[in-house]
Structure formats: C-alpha cells, structure tokens
Amino acid sequence: MLQTNRNRRLPLIAGVMAIAAGLSGLWSPAQAEEARKPLKIMMISHSPASDTYFVDVIKGLEQAGKDLGVEVQYRGTDANLNDPNQQRRNIEAAIAAGPDGLIISNPTPTSLNEVITKATGAGIPVVLFNQGGESVKEVHALTFVGDDPAIQGRIAGEQYNGLGSKHVLVITTPTGALPFVDARVNGLKEAFSGKVSLAEVPLNNINDANRIKTITETQLQKDPSIDAVFSVGSCCIAPMLEARNNSGDKGKSMRWGTIDLTTAAVDGLKSKNLDFDLHAQQYAQGYYPVVVLSLYLRQGIVPATDAFITGPAVITPENIDRLMSLQQQ
C-alpha cells in the first residue's frame, strides 16, 4: 500500500520525505493515505502534549482516528498549561488549515469564545472538550465532552466518608492557581463530613516528585490527627505513595485516594496501598469527539445533549484487575 502511494507522489513531496527520512518514524501514517481522502479533524487544547493527563486524551484521539478512518492531529501549547494567546493563534491556524472538524478545549471562555465562534462561523463543526462546557450554545458547538471537576471532588469526599476517615490531607496546587483543581478541592470539602487540610505544591514544583513528597510528609508530621490523604491529580500520586511507605505502620493504618489513573496508581491499587482512584477516563475525551464529529459529518447526526460526561469511575483494588485485562486486549 505504501509502495503504490509513493509512486503517485510528486517529486517535491518525495523530496520532503527524503529530508524527513531521519524523522520518518514521526510522520503520521495517516498522512500517507491521501488517496482515500479521509476526514481531517484537529484537536486544539490548552495543554502541552507531554502532560500526563493529556497523553491519554491523545491516545484516545489517535485510536479513534484509526478506528473510524479519520485523520487526526493534536495541537497544544508549547510549555505553559493554559496560554490563551497561543491557543487562540492555534485555533486561527486551524481555521486557516480548513479541517473538516475541530475539537477545542475552552479553559478561558472570556478569552477564547470569540475565536471559537469564528471557527463555527467559518462552517467548521466544533466539539468542545475537557473544559468550557458552559459555552456550548454561545459558540455554536455541537456538544461538550469532558468531566466536571466538582463532581470528582464530591465523589472523593463520599469515598472518604464511606471509609470512615475523619481528617483528610489534600495534596493540591495553591488555591487560585488552577481553577479546575480548586473545583475538585471544593467538591471534596462539600461532600466530606470531616476536617480537610491542604498540602499546597507550588506550580513550579508540580513535576518535582521529591518536593511534593517532602511537602506531604511535613504536613503529616505537623498534624498527627490526619488519617487520610488525597492526591488531587496525576502529579502527586507517586510522591504520595512514597510518603505512605515512609510513614511505616501509621501509613498503613491511613486511607489513601487519588484522581487520575497513572502507572503508579495502578501499582498502588494492585498492592492495596491505594484505597481508591477516581479515573477521569480522559481517553474518552479524545475518542468521543471524533465519533460525534464523524457521525455529524458522515450521517448528519446531531447530538441531542449538551454534555457527554466521561468520568469519574471509581477504581478500587477489587476492580482494577478487570480494567487492566481489558486494556491489554
């Protein structure tokens, strides 16, 4: 198949491929299937592609592309989680590129609604994902695929209530730094019947496992009445479990939970070091929008709901094995 395609290519394109030979593994195989003229769908987000959470979103996006015969491309921001200026430019670039459909995260509606409306105005169907579900009508998007951080927090609070915890330490970013993280924490505070303390990790250290561990252990030292710990996201799971190990018997007697299913979390659940994990199932945030858009583009199917909620699912040591065996197939 590759061979016949290559024969049809212009010499110019062949030149490009030659230049790119060193990078050949990086070029999406979908690019080589021009002959079939598949749908082209772009995802424009506020996150660098390397972010642990978005790695799963992108996997879902790419799998959906393969399953549905759609050419997909991800474009996030360079380095900074939430750079609305760059995201706006990327959306404009996407409009110029003229894809068949767009999937856009909308963390700052006051800054981005204008340009997203420009996309829908140009006749490109848009599905919002991850954040900004409240803007679906304003920007004339088809629907929103994502989750509600407040619900995640409330479910976490209920889990700790069920486990009989009295005082939860939440490992989180400084209040005000990331609105969706704040919403998770506030949801937990709302639903949890005991006391809540915060271990705040400065944004600069969000990828520094050692610092996160130290901050957590300091808080545990300071207040011995803490009998449960909650990691607000993927950043802090491995360091939290390290802190559990370092706390010896006291650590074993406490309850441990988190949001986001990372490798560390899976290991934690399997070894019963982690009591529960709220899996946002963000893979579906990459997958569903491609389904929605391709149904819309190929069958004219318009979603009748403003929001597809993808999570969370509560994963525990009891059901982790089933999930893992499914994902390996």
């Binding site: 990078l23 990086l26 592609a49 380095a79 430019r89 670039a93 006051t110």
Partner: protein, 348 residues
C-alpha cells in the same frame, strides 16, 4: 584556511571585499536564516495555510511580542549585561494593569502610565543591584525573576484568589487607547508597528548616537570606558529601565488582545528574547550586536513557532524542532561571523 585564497586569486579582490562587507554585518545571517525558514514553510506547508493572511498576521504577532523586548535587550547585551527577569516583568505588567482597569476601574491611560512607573522601579532595581553588587547580571536578574514571578502570583492570590484577571478589554470598554495595543493596521495587528518603531529606535540609538557609542564602549572594554569618563553605572541602569518598560508594552498588547491578565504569562520569554538577539548576531560576551539583526531573529522565531502547526509532526516534537532550528541558525551565524571578522579585525 585563508592562504590558498590569498595567494591564488588576485583577479577578484573586489568581489571578495563586497561579499565580506555583507557577511560582516551582524544581521546578515539572521536575514538569510529568516529567508530560508520562510522558504521552508512556504514550500512545505504553504498549501496547508502558512501563507494565508491570518497566519502571516499570527507569526508577526508572536515575533512582535518577542521583538519588542528583544530590541532593548540587544542594547543591554551589547553593554555586556543580561536581564532574565523580563518574562516575570511582563506578568507583573499584565497583573498591575489588569487590576487597575478591572478592579480599580481606571481608564487605560493612567493604568498604563502607572504600570510603566512600576516597571521603571523594577528596571532601576535590577540595574542598581547589578552595578552595586558587581555580581554577574545573570544571577542578579535570575533572583529578581523568581522574586517578581512569585510576588505577582502571591499578590494576585491575595487580591482575587486566582491566577488570572479576566475581562480586561470588556472593562476598558470603548476606551480609544485600547486600539493602540490590540487594534489592527490593515490586515496586521498594531503590535507590528510597535515592533518596527522600537527596533528602529534601538538601531538609531546604537548606531547613530553618542549614547550608542558609549554602549559599545561599555560592553567592549568596561575599564577603558570608565577611564574615558563614561558613566557606566548610569548607562546600565537606564538600559535596564528601557527593557522593563518594553516588557510593559508587551503586557499591554497581551491583555487587550486576549482579554485577560495572567500571572503565569510569558514564562520562558527571557530566553526567547536572548535567542532572538543571538540569532541576530549579538554576542553574549558584550560589545557586539544589532537591533536590526534581532528584528530578524524574532521574526525567525515567530515563523518557526507558527509554522510548526502546519507540519505533520506530532506536537510533542515542537521543542526538539525549535531547538534544531535555533542550533542551525546560531552555528551558521557563528561560522560566518568568525570568517568575516578575522580580516576586518586585522585591518583596524
């Protein structure tokens, strides 16, 4: 390296001299590199949208927000000093100005002037610390980077419990001055005009004024500059103030374009502006540099940044891609400069 050339061909010395005089310009490689990068994206991604007017506007916008700061940074580099705090100063400018407009209800003009005054304070502090402590400016301004960035985040959290101030343009309403920062000139953003004007100003100051000569003298040989009576300390403080003021201009462009002031804005900008200056031919050791070259360095940066979008490469490779582009640019730059400077140096 030069012996066969010099002994062999005596028939074409003029051609060689004119080529040399072209190569010796610090901006030469930046211009050549910009043309090469433009050609690359135009040929390989032009159909995908790189050549469209909207995208031309976009990469000029990216380049402008780098170039506006990179122009005074070039003067500072020529004078032999660094300023790593510019990204944090942009964030400080955004938050101060946004706060005055959104929460204090000030009109744009006084809010902008007040922010410039804050920036003058930051620049003066940077300059004062550098000249008084005589420590490397790299370290001093690294410290002020952390201090300013942290203070902006901390103070804003105390003020509104958040890391952003939304609705700046909406709060400014019909204020005509908003146009100065986020308006359009024909198909392009007004930031392009600011960028050209500031580059022209910096180039004029450096090439055609006594002050410019003093900047060269300070960066070239500071001890000699002091002996000839140049007030080196005062000159450096003034340059730090100019850099901080340019950061405020970028802050104003950002908040009115995107309707939001962000305490985490412009992270890493300090390296982007230095990169633009270095691509433009400036030496990190001082004494050599060109605002015109820096202009093209920033333009190249903007094109790479926006052009990548249209390549089929997955997003995670952007930084690698950028890194290779910059490495190629500076290696060529260095090679041609060395080749060009040797004969010129001997003739002086």
């Amino acid at each position: 390296m030069n012996s066969p050339v010099q002994s062999g061909r005596t028939d074409a010395p003029e051609a060689r001299v004119s080529l040399r005089s072209l190569l010796v310009r610090p901006e030469f490689t930046a211009i050549a590199g910009t043309i090469a990068v433009f050609a690359f994206f135009a040929i390989f991604t032009g159909d995908a949208g790189f050549l469209s007017m909207a995208m031309t506007r976009n990469y000029l916008e990216v380049a402008a927000t780098i170039g506006i700061i990179a122009a005074p940074i070039t003067l500072l580099l020529v004078a032999g000093e660094f300023d790593l705090s510019v990204g944090a100063t942009v964030a400080a400018g955004e938050i101060v100005m946004s706060y005055l407009i959104v929460y204090a209800g000030w009109p744009v003009a006084p809010a902008f002037l007040a922010t410039v005054i804050v920036a003058i304070g930051i620049g003066a502090l940077n300059g004062y610390l550098v000249v008084k402590t005589k420590l490397p400016s790299f370290i001093i301004t690294l410290a002020t980077l952390f201090i300013i960035r942290g203070a902006v985040q901390g103070i804003l959290r105390m003020l509104n419990g958040n890391s952003v101030i939304d609705g700046v343009r909406s709060a400014a309403g019909e204020d005509p001055l908003v146009w100065l920062f986020s308006g359009m000139v024909g198909p392009f953003s007004v930031s392009l005009i600011w960028w050209i004007v500031i580059t022209g100003l910096a180039a004029w100051v450096l090439e055609s004024t006594v002050f410019g000569n003093r900047i060269f003298a300070t960066g070239g040989n500071q001890a000699a500059a002091v002996r000839t009576g140049i007030q080196v300390d005062r000159l450096k403080i003034m340059l730090y103030i100019a850099v901080a003021a340019s950061a405020v201009l970028v802050a104003a462009i950002n908040i009115f374009t995107i309707n939001q002031g962000n305490a985490n804005s412009a992270v890493g900008r300090e390296f982007e502006v230095v990169t633009a200056a270095v691509i433009g031919g400036a030496l990190l050791t001082g004494g050599y540099g060109s605002p015109i070259g820096t202009f093209f360095g920033a333009l190249l940066f903007g094109m790479v940044d926006q052009g990548f979008f249209f390549t089929p490469l997955p997003d995670v490779w952007f930084l690698t891609f950028l890194g290779f582009m910059l490495l190629i640019a500076v290696v060529i730059n260095n090679y041609t400069r060395n080749a060009a400077l040797k004969p010129r140096g001997s003739s002086q």
